[in-house]
Amino acid sequence: MKKFLALSLVICMVFLTVACAKEPVAEAIATPEQPREAELNIMMSIPQFMDQWDTYVQQFEAKMLAEENIKVKVNLEMPSSDQYESVLQARLTSDDAPDLFTLHSNNIGTYNKAGYLTDLSNDPLATKIYDNVKSTVSVDGKLLGVPLESQAWGVLYNKEIFEKLNLEAPKTLSDLENIVNILKENDYTPFMLAYQEQWVPQLMTALTLGGKVSGDIPDWVDRMNNNEGSYSEVTDIFGPIDLIMENGTIRAMEVGSEAGAADFANGKAAMFVQGTWASGTIMATNPDMKLGVFALPVNENEDCTSVNLSTSTTLAVHPDAKEMELARMFANYVLDDQDSAALFQACSFNPLATSHTYQPASWVADASSFVAAGKSYKDLVLPSAVTDEQGKLLQEYYVKTITKEDFITRMDEVYKNSNK
């Protein structure tokens, strides 16, 4: 075998030299100079998609070798997602930063201030991303990352139950109350409650605040940031929150997000305040599930009934990357015209760029129809201490250790402290 290889190599060489001798113009193509070797370190928080990204990285390596004559060795790291952030912070502060890394789009502001993000506004990828998605990963008009997981989300509901009872997606809070009553009359539990993890009840504030603020008081967040607003202006949010808590499944504090998604898939309740990211668990539990999405109404104002548009995982380029050119090329390759669609589909990410022409899942299409109709708002950017506190207080509100008034005063305090 070795002999054969050596022989064929020799023959090739001979042919090449002959070819070169004959035609000097072909030299550049026929005997390429030794490819430059380079290394690229990438760290991502989505180990569940390791295989898909491994393949994509290999495609990138091949493409670079073929087109740029660079022999890239990509080191792809995927720490488990609950440790990811502390690993990333340790690496960034100890001068051992990866060239590219993922972060949650909510942290873009903080990381940008600390100087860990590169402005990608003038890269080719900037023109490909849908504008409403682009605004979720931009600060002051600068595009600071490549969005990977972007979603429009609201309340998940079981289409089968809704169709059986001739129910339609609610437009106002009284519509929702009506739906709840009809469901109860027909012995269905209206809402799935899974409050063991604090981020799940928090989703209710994300949706209700988002709807209320975008529809009624668009300057609320700005004023809150300047210590000029209060949660007492948004007491409407307790309308749907009370309705959900009073008409939900029992033992909510003992049910985690995954268990809740599985129970919902098995028909334990008709609606679930949870993002489309739970669709993986839901569809795995019950592949025949007919999953739909509607916007959570906050009050009687239909303008407040919109879906939340947010980006979670975002890929950023470190400004001190050794192979800056290459790092940017990879960032651009993620939204490559030819290969990107297959990657996004394989990871079941939502389409977010012009080249993503694949058919999305039914629930994604549902949510996208709200976006298309202009009934969406960009996820509110609140200080993360505020977001965390909302989750904690909603747990307490559910177990009735605090009242609405306590919620409002404590949230105002926490917001003020975060502004310091």
């Binding site: 600390a114 033992r251 904690k392 177990v399």
Partner: protein, 291 residues
């Protein structure tokens, strides 16, 4: 060969361990003291020196003091519950003739898995198995909100934490019990002492050094309790079961990621534990008796 000073050779033997200890335990602790006087957020390349303002802020931090109170409550209950159970188990196992090894292993086993995993295992028991028993076997007293009601959540935490630490304490107590001279026990028996009297008047004073170690260990580890609560209730509902360590963790890694402030809190916790431990060792070692 020149004879080495015994102190030098002693130092040489402990040097490797000392270096590791110094590098990974002492140095971060000292650096932590420094960071507690800054406003570093764990991310920025620069930070400002803020003097003792972090410590001043702690004084009025209601959530922190609530978590300290919760931790104190947890420590008191744990020191009593874990040590009583461990001593009871040790005495029981020591008193049987057959199957000592089996029981020792069984009770020690929970100590061999990480408490995070143990916590998640119990989470399953508490949120699934108990309700199954309540719903299907009519054991309705189990139908409590084990995670959602702060009172029951506290019980659940104590049960799981004891389950995890009793085995370790039991081994220490067993070793001490084996060191009690049989002659003393026999003398007590001949004097007509009942089993209970023998235990109180003979055995307990003889194993007091083990009690010191065990109480010290539970005290110390209970003050730092994190994993059990983190995996079981996450400090919830709200902050009802938040221990000091969990409060510090959230300050440092969640919310407003304030490393500087969080290290200041750890310093306060360190001082509290130090003072209590010194007092405890003073009192306990006075009572220890020489065999």
């Amino acid at each position: 060969m020149k004879k080495l000073n015994p102190n030098v050779s002693l130092m040489l033997f402990v040097a490797p361990a000392l270096v590791v200890y110094g590098l990974f335990k002492l140095l971060p602790a000292v650096l932590g003291l420094f960071y507690s006087t800054t406003d570093w957020n764990g991310l920025n390349k620069t930070y400002n020196f803020v003097g003792i303002s972090n410590f001043i802020e702690i004084i009025s931090d209601q959530y922190f003091w609530n978590s300290v109170l919760f931790t104190l409550k947890y420590v008191v209950v744990m020191v009593i519950v874990a040590n009583v159970i461990a001593l009871f188990l040790a005495t029981m196992i020591e008193s049987i003739n057959r199957g000592k090894g089996l029981f020792r292993t069984v009770f020690y086993m929970p100590n061999m898995i990480s408490m995070i995993i143990g916590g998640y295992m119990w989470m399953f028991i508490v949120t699934k198995v108990l309700y199954y028993m309540a719903d299907n076997w009519g054991l309705t007293f189990l139908d409590k909100s084990w995670i959602g009601d702060p009172r029951y959540a506290f019980i659940a935490i104590i049960v799981v934490a004891s389950w995890g630490s009793v085995g370790y304490l039991m081994i220490i107590y067993m070793a001490a019990l084996q060191g009690v001279p049989t002659s003393l026990k026999e003398a007590a028996y001949l004097d007509g002492a009942s089993g209970w009297q023998t235990f109180w008047a003979v055995i307990l004073p003889m194993i007091r050094h083990a009690v010191t170690i065990c109480v010290f260990w539970t005290l110390n580890s209970s003050f730092q309790v994190f994993d059990v609560i983190y995996s079981l209730t996450g400090g919830g509902p709200g902050r009802a079961t938040q221990s000091t360590a969990l409060n510090i963790y959230e300050e440092a890694f969640k919310g407003n990621i304030r490393y500087g402030y969080a290290t200041a809190k750890s310093t306060v916790l360190f001082v509290i534990v130090l003072v209590i431990t010194i007092i405890q060792i003073r009192i306990m070692s006075k009572k220890e008796q020489e065999a």
